[in-house]
Symmetry: C2
Subunit: 522 residues, 2 copies
């Protein structure tokens, strides 16, 4: 691997690109001749762009198949392309964007792929069979941790078809401005988390009694049908409140919770995996701890997997508003209708206002570190992130905490924060997440499997027991984007079927749920 | 107890009050004659006020020793006093308040009381001897939970003088607008939490590597001296980053953390409790899940304990901005200087703005439920909460997440949310918390003991293993406010000395840290 990175090597993401990225460790010297005949006329550092052809002054500079700017002066083939000779494109104002203007790409249906999942009464399909115990308020967090441990020890061994018991602790529920307009976000997030397909419509709620957020809010019209698969829907949610006057002392509370848990475990235990079409997958795409290779290896491979999933009829979400904001003019054309394009714009505008209210700088311009790493401007930076969404049309947009409405590629508006994005994608109905990282993070979720893809081989070798797939082989030429994307697609089916356990789950590592609450606390 | 509540009974909080509260279950009928000779001239429900003397039209109605309004018409001794015959006092606008106008009450010094604590190199004193492992980012939360469990199992038994190992997981550190003005609040909260006296200046930090909040921020000038007790201060904070390139695989990360933990445990294990004056206590007062009795039993008893602690030279904090806001005109006079009074006002104004920005209603007026429970107006409601602060002068005011600066009674501005208030009081340097509740909550903190005081005997009997002290005996006449406040004072010394373990700690129940972050996430 170290050897491979020392070979003279550049990487080009899209056939129409007129620049490529130097991947060689330490960069490439002037005079270097590459296998395809390109000769560098100046030194170009690692991660930076080199011109693949002569680009006349005023002509477009194309990367990721998109215009990232125009040439300030004539640029010769083999020259270094950077912020000094790239004219920034018009910044993406939100009031004059191209709306659903791109002709739909010809994405052939992909047929014949299945996975083994747990079909739910509401039509959704779980990739795991988990007893979820949600909570209406942080007050009960300590009690929940105590009882989950006891259920795992005393009850779970008797129900071998149940994979796990997961407590959904969070910081919301009381001491919050529950009537503020933005409170709808954490409230619907919690409501929809309880409906995650991996809980099999057998969610329990642990409440206190006097909290502002009443447990009935979380489960009253549960389960809703995801995509209206099934005609029948039955609710089997159960609520236990600690202030219930029939409980005398802590041990009676615990006994009361254990009794209800046992009923749910009995029903969950009767379920069996069955063969399901890939169209029952709901996959969330996310990145975190990115590096210079994320945009040329892991994220493009994820984009290819996104297109394969969409072609097979699955639901795929991409998210992270602050990372797509500066490429919004490249997303609105991909919307299937002007209405969907407008929904994209509305989510960007909402976040712009939210940040402005908090006196936060969107930090739109690449930092000196970004430029040093080869990113010429904000468009190029955002492109490296949105490339996870592949080439598919954008069929829908949902707000933070909302539930997915349709198959295909949806933009699920969330912060880029890994835990908040994960929590919100889980609330949207995700049954599997793909997470790309360059620097490395042990991030994982308890309720859905998270497949971690590394952008470089150094990381996947050092973190051999924390990374699931190495996309770094794209940089070294040992694998193509398409091969790696296909390997990811195959791995998704294996993990969704319970045949492969992701690395962090083998180690028992899980992050906390983190709610997005833009409303005040009180 | 049920019998005692069926006896005709009223309760009067302060010698100068001209109203008292009916505590009898079901209220009292017209014609009832009370032991002290008062005869009711109308029916008065439980929790409601009865006039103790004739109150002429326009004269003050006094409760908690404070004016809660004036009589709309002549009110006879034995009549029902409620929102219909109480004229609301001028609402507490923030621009014309009495500043430090009350003569300091004669609070005699209380001498000769001590507890057994762990003296730290920075001069602060711990009530427990705990290895704290804080984190710079939520990314490492799963790893921290894993390693804390292993430290407890494999290392802690070898260090019998160390009470516990506590991981400080939180949702901050990355994916946040770290440059926004309000980000100072979560950042200083985390920095100061690491300095909590119960961690003995032996804090460890677990970081990832690429997070926005760098671990050095949390410990760089640690330890600061709390109150400048000691001349020497030495730092022994240690940071482990998961992205450290010397770690190959998860087990090496865990081994690396365990090695550092062992060093810290060795030093902590050499410490012994020593006799300390009460002035080394830093006690936070809080309430949550209040009921109609909270303001007449538990909170006044806490107020009495506050005064005892202050007389003995201790530091006491009261908090919960939204619950003191409507009694602010009764607090500014108690400030020791106009400057301190202004700091109180500034904190109220900041919170008013914060709520307004979030379109939240301060819900200042008592709800129909409050009025039904006997609260005539907002002043009376807030008084039931601020009575926890006793009668002592207010010597200082700190903002959310700031560290305490001086002994005596400080207003530590925090939201009323139990977990956020607890987290912020812990960051201020609290080594013991007192928490009053009427409805009941299993709330507890891992880093400092929390003594739970119930406002009614029904709760303390039903939750016999979750409540530490029953203040309900004040309502039934079995104990006075002074006796109960003194019992609480004595219990504080027992718990601070490690001789008594609080109920929730015996059960191993702990709530999560919840940060106050008014800045945006990204
Ligand atoms: Ca990202
Ligand atoms: Ca992210
Ligand atoms: Ca309260
Ligand atoms: Ca509270
Ligand atoms: Ca936890």
């Amino acid at each position: 691997m170290t050897n491979a990175l020392e070979q003279p090597r550049i990487i080009c993401i899209h056939p129409s690109d007129n620049v490529a990225i130097v991947v060689t460790s330490g960069g490439l010297r002037a005079g270097t001749r590459l296998p395809d005949g390109l000769e560098l006329v100046v030194d170009v550092p690692q991660g930076h762009k080199v011109a693949l052809s002569d680009i006349a002054q005023g002509k477009n500079i194309i990367r990721y198949g998109e215009v990232i700017g125009t040439a300030v002066s004539d640029i010769a083939r083999g020259e270094h392309v950077n912020e000094s000779n790239v004219q920034l494109p018009t910044p993406p104002a939100l009031d004059n964007l191209p709306m659903a203007s791109r002709p739909s790409p010809a994405l052939e249906p992909l047929e014949g792929y299945t996975f083994e999942g747990y079909r739910n009464v509401d039509g959704s399909v779980g990739t795991k069979n988990v007893l979820g115990i949600t909570t209406s308020v942080q007050c009960v967090a300590g009690t929940l941790e105590h009882v989950v441990e006891r259920i795992k020890k005393e009850l779970l061994p008797r129900f071998p078809n149940v994979d796990d018991v997961v407590g959904l602790n969070h910081s919301y529920g009381c001491g919050v401005a529950i009537g503020a307009p933005a409170a709808i976000i954490p409230i619907r997030t919690l409501t929809n988390l309880a409906r995650n397909p991996n809980f099999g419509c057998e969610i329990m709620v642990l409440g206190l009694g006097c909290e502002k957020l009443q447990p009935s809010t979380l489960v009253e019209d549960q389960p809703v049908k995801l995509f209206n698969h099934s005609d029948e829907a039955e609710t089997s949610a159960s609520t236990v409140s600690l202030q219930d006057e029939s409980f005398s002392g802590f041990s009676e509370m615990i006994d009361g919770i254990m009794r209800v848990a046992e009923r749910h475990l009995q029903r969950l235990d009767q379920r069996q995996r069955e063969t399901c079409p890939v169209s029952d997958l709901v996959v969330g795409m996310q990145c975190g701890g990115s590096d210079a290779f994320s945009g040329v290896t892991a994220n493009p491979a994820v984009g290819h997997a996104t297109d394969l999933l969409v072609r097979a009829g699955a639901s795929v979400m991409f998210s992270e508003v602050t990372e797509v904001r500066d490429a919004i003019h490249l997303l609105t054309p991909r919307a299937v209708s002007p209405e969907v394009a407008q929904m994209l714009i509305d989510q960007m505008a909402w976040y712009d206002d939210y940040l402005t209210l908090g006196h936060a700088d969107r930090s739109a311009n690449p930092s000196p570190g970004n430029k040093k790493g080869g990113l010429s401007n904000v468009v190029e930076k955002a492109l490296g992130s949105v490339i996870k969404s592949g080439n598919s049309p954008i069929v829908d947009v949902i707000g933070p905490g909302e539930r997915l409405r349709t198959r295909g590629l949806t933009f699920a508006a969330t912060p880029a924060s890994d835990f908040i994005c994960g929590t919100l994608q889980a609330a949207a109905g995700m049954n599997l997440q793909v997470f790309t990282t360059g620097r490395g993070t042990p991030y994982n979720l308890a309720m859905t499997p998270v497949i971690k893809v590394s952008s470089n081989t150094t990381l996947s070798q050092r973190w051999h027991d924390l990374i699931d797939l190495d996309a770094g082989r794209i940089a070294t030429g040992e694998a193509t984007i398409e091969e790696t994307g296909r390997a990811l697609f195959d791995l998704i089916l294996e993990v969704a079927s319970g045949r492969t356990t992701v690395a962090a789950e083998k180690l028992g590592l899980y992050n906390d749920l983190v709610l997005f609450n833009p409303a005040p606390v009180t």
